[in-house]
């Protein structure tokens, strides 16, 4: 008998469907058979821990080798909690994004926009004891993709979160308020519930904004909460 506690299932409508026809690449990349239902065990209820010793933080993407990247400097700050509002401390957060012109420092990105020699676009931060994280970057540009005619991804920053279990693993994207491209983006619109979708949009925050330095955005993240019933029951 063990008393490991799993994580709650996703709330209805809060997660996108892997079969999202408006996002063309999902066509051949979603399983046709139903997922196998299986209660969480120690394998899903536990997860990796990352130490800053092995994974050194990189909290300022706006400077490379002492040189400033092009673009609008931003600070993003937020708190990671679980579904019960409890902070998720000391968890690793990875970030990657396009440069201010909408171009990734990546061999497969062929968009005809300039690379920035002072911007690579990768970051790594850890939450503090109370679940807070913060980093400095530049606002990423929109970029075209071939999903449909005249398709442009809204400005976004990619995120990777871990939390306490393999079940809490989350890859997502943060968007910016007021972006006219959100209304046309099948990735963003793939989240069925409107409130859940809109929580992917950061808030402009004057308290995070630093005078003569950078605009501030607040982006809070919720990872799955523990189920109330021990799995052994």
């Amino acid at each position: 008998m063990n008393d490991i506690i799993g994580f709650r299932p996703p709330a209805p409508g809060s997660q996108p469907d892997n079969n999202t026809p408006a996002y063309g690449s999902t066509r051949a990349r979603h399983p046709l058979r139903p997922l196998l239902a299986f209660p969480h065990t120690i394998t899903e209820a536990t997860g990796p821990a990352f130490s800053p010793t092995h994974f050194p933080p990189h909290t300022d993407l706006s400077v490379m080798n002492g040189k400033l990247a092009q673009g609008e400097r931003i600070i993003v700050r937020g708190r990671i909690t679980d579904e019960d509002g409890r902070p998720v401390p000391n968890t690793m957060v990875e970030i990657w994004q396009a440069n201010a012109a909408g171009r990734y420092f990546h061999p497969l990105d062929t968009h005809d926009a300039p690379l920035d020699p002072n911007f690579k676009g990768d970051g790594r931060v850890f939450t503090d004891a109370d679940g807070w994280y913060q980093y400095t970057s530049i606002k990423p540009g929109a970029y075209p993709w071939r999903n449909h005619k005249n398709a442009w991804r809204p400005n976004h920053i990619h995120y990777s979160f871990f939390g306490p279990g393999f079940a809490t693993r989350l890859i997502t994207q943060m968007y910016f308020p007021g972006d006219p491209l959100l209304a046309f983006d099948p990735v963003f619109k793939g989240v069925p519930d409107e409130a859940a979708r809109n929580r992917l949009i950061a808030n402009f925050d004057l308290d995070v904004t630093q005078p003569e330095h950078a605009l501030g955005y607040r982006f809070d993240v919720v990872l799955r909460g523990r189920a109330a019933t021990p799995m052994g029951i």
């Binding site: 490991i4 799993g6 399983p31 990352f50 579904e83 994207q173 859940a196 929580r199």
Partner: protein, 180 residues
């Protein structure tokens, strides 16, 4: 399973990892023995194909093991970018059995997450090891009636200490993916 706690806010929505996640990739993370882990060192390899039979070379493959327990020498977690043929390769330590629910025991297995362009959330599955006597009583494998379906979760030996588990995202011989 009953949920007794009131939900304050549902978990944040997932979005695709996209084709440019390599900006955070570190090839060292595919070797779980790099910090000096003890145990039987194995290679876990596999080729990922999609519903068109195309290799998912852009995917992000992650593994997690609850056995052996993670510590300073063994991270338990690995991440790999497949090559142009969609083939991933991890160096790790062979897991042992771990407890299941109640008094059950689970056969040795490695948890696998698959992210990629065109995958909105993630695809979760497991690699078991062919020939392990505990496979016959494993609670998860026991839920899969069709032998051919069950076989999609069982890695086969391919040379000394090399285990292969191919992953088919969709269609013929589709891998059994698991709710998580």
């Amino acid at each position: 399973m009953t949920t007794l706690t009131t939900t304050a806010l549902a978990a944040t929505a997932a979005q695709t990892i996209g084709p440019y996640w390599h900006l955070i990739e570190d090839p060292a993370m595919a070797d779980l023995t790099r910090f000096g882990a003890n145990g039987e060192v194995i290679t876990l390899i596999g080729t990922i194909t999609d519903g068109d039979g195309a290799p998912a070379s852009d995917a992000c493959v992650e593994i997690w093991q609850s056995s052996p327990a993670a510590d300073d020498k063994f991270p338990g977690y690995g991440r790999c970018a497949p090559d142009a043929t969609g083939t991933f390769r991890f160096t790790t330590v062979k897991p042992g059995p771990v407890p299941g629910r109640g008094n059950t025991q689970q056969a040795p297995h490695i948890a696998i997450n698959l992210f990629g362009r065109g995958i909105m959330t993630r695809l979760y599955t497991r690699a078991y090891f062919e020939g392990d006597p505990l496979n016959a009583t494993d609670p998860l494998l026991g839920l899969i009636d069709e032998p051919a379906r069950r076989a999609t979760l069982i890695a086969r030996p391919e040379g000394a200490n090399i285990w292969r588990l191919d992953i088919r995202i969709q269609g013929d011989n589709e891998t059994v993916f698991i709710e998580i």
